[in-house]
């Protein structure tokens, strides 16, 4: 038991004195996950809005598919991205396997459905409420979309935060396509897995603390933004 307390104490010390290895790993994790959120937002926001607003054959199937894709198994996504980016794969020429770029791609694929599905739901709910009013003004497609995106911005931000939470806590896909290479592709989750298997609990626990703080902060931000928006705009 004392070993565990000792490991926790050392971990806290690593966090407090901003250990360079720890900072490097945290920084890469944030860089990869934020990049993935950015890409997923660029794809997911318009995709979700389009599915919510545009009537097309198979729309219901698209909604089911989008919702189902929120539960994509990370290791399967990792495997598919690995096959695509491996030397013999169709995108092998890019030469980005075992680089942060490959990790960004894998995480983007994982969280795009989350952002798209939450966007679809948000825009769909707002559209139902605003439809007659916007129709009575003769609002065009673009005016409708911008109105709905703006009025749903806080809920959409919560969706982006959910995507970031999923991306930063993900391990299966990034370990396959990143390879967990020291100083290159080692992020918080993969380092925790590796250091724990090696019995080096200090760094694993320190990263665990950072990860928990990050997850708690993201959730707190989502709740606070939701509350503030509800209070401010009803």
């Amino acid at each position: 038991m004392s070993e565990v307390f000792s490991a926790v104490a050392t971990a806290v010390e690593l966090v407090v004195r901003l250990d360079p290895d720890l900072v490097e790993i945290v920084a890469l994790s944030l860089k990869v996950s934020l990049s993935a959120v950015l890409i997923a937002a660029l794809v997911g926001l318009p995709l979700g809005a389009a599915v919510a607003l545009v009537k097309f054959p198979g729309r219901r199937g698209a909604v089911i598919l989008l919702n189902a894709a929120m539960g994509l198994p990370p290791v399967v996504v990792g495997l598919v991205v690995y096959l695509l980016l491996s030397r013999a794969g169709p995108l092998g020429e890019l030469g980005i396997l075992f680089t942060p770029a490959a990790m960004v791609i894998a995480q983007s694929i994982l969280i795009t459905p989350i952002i798209a599905a939450l966007t679809r739901q948000t825009i769909s709910d707002l559209h139902e409420e605003y439809d007659e009013y916007l129709c009575s003004l003769g609002a065009g497609h673009l005016q409708r979309i911008t109105t709905l995106l703006w009025d749903g911005r806080f809920r959409l931000l919560t969706g982006l935060l959910a995507g970031f939470g999923r991306a930063s806590a993900e391990v299966g896909a990034v370990i396959i396509v990143g390879g967990n290479i020291n100083h290159v592709t080692r992020v918080m989750t993969t380092t925790i897995a590796l250091e724990t298997s090696k019995g080096n609990l200090n760094l694993a626990l320190a990263l665990g603390i950072v990860l928990i703080i990050l997850a708690a902060s993201v959730n707190a931000a989502a709740v606070l933004i939701g509350d503030a928006a509800s209070k401010r705009y009803g």
Binding site: Y130, S136, Q143, D151, Y233, G234
Partner: protein, 244 residues
């Protein structure tokens, strides 16, 4: 230009042989009427008579199953900007009071430099100037409906269509909303509104369309309607009986 279209006019409203079916039921049944300018029209009837539906079809929000609606020879979509609609259930954006009006002006392409003064005027008329920075959806029911009317009137429409504008409002809030309706009428805006409130119809109507089960039973002046209703349904409705 079509000979029947009268430029710069939106009235009369002509409804010919208008029917609307949904879910296997006839909700509006062969309505024929013509509304002229210069009076306030109240579409009266019990719940489910088809009042709101008729208003929506006249505005162009819904297409009739058969028959036609024309505003001085124009279809509702051609009359578009001359018509403004206020809904029974207020639809306010998740923005401030002033921004709700600004949004309408922006959608309608009003130049940015003109918006501020028009917002100020609209809020003043609605008695909401002091609440301009408040979130619209946190206003009281009466204030929300006044904002809805102000937002509709800021477009300077020739016709204001109001769907049960005071249902669920207390007498004080109802009086304020009715005050805005009278002010719009005094400014020359043609008022066409629905209500199931007989007393409100007595206060506001110059002419009455009485609807029951999707049919137009009476179209007459308010004084005549309330003094000598011609149909049994109207007499029973005015006595406060529950019509099926």
């Amino acid at each position: 230009m079509d000979k029947a279209i009268e430029p710069n006019r939106v009235m009369p409203l002509e409804v010919l042989d208008l029917s609307y079916d949904a879910g296997g039921k006839t909700l509006l049944n062969k309505l024929d009427f013509r509304l002229e300018d210069g009076v306030r029209t109240v579409i009266l009837g019990p719940n489910g008579a088809g009042k709101s539906l008729l208003l929506r079809v006249c505005h162009g929000l819904l297409q009739p199953g058969s028959g036609s609606v024309s505003w001085a020879g124009r279809t509702p979509s051609q009359a578009g900007r001359e018509l403004a609609m206020v809904f029974q259930r207020t639809v306010l954006l998740r923005r401030t009071v002033a921004d709700n009006i600004a949004h309408t002006l922006a959608i309608m392409g009003v130049p940015r430099e003109q918006r501020s003064s028009r917002i100020d005027t609209a809020l003043k008329e609605a008695g909401l100037s002091e609440l301009e920075d408040h979130p619209a959806r946190t206003l009281s029911g009466g204030e929300q409906q006044r904002l809805s009317i102000a937002r509709a009137r800021v477009l300077r429409p020739r016709v204001l269509l109001l769907d049960e504008p005071t249902s669920n409002l207390d007498p004080g809030a109802t009086a304020a909303v009715e005050g805005m309706i009278r002010a719009a009428d005094a400014d020359g805006t043609r008022i066409i509104m629905t209500t199931h409130d007989i007393l409100q119809a007595r206060r506001l109507a110059d002419e009455v369309l009485f609807l029951h089960r999707g049919g137009l039973l009476e179209h007459t002046s308010a004084s005549e309607f309330f003094a000598e209703p011609k149909t049994d349904e109207a007499r029973r409705f005015l006595r406060g009986e529950l019509l099926e």
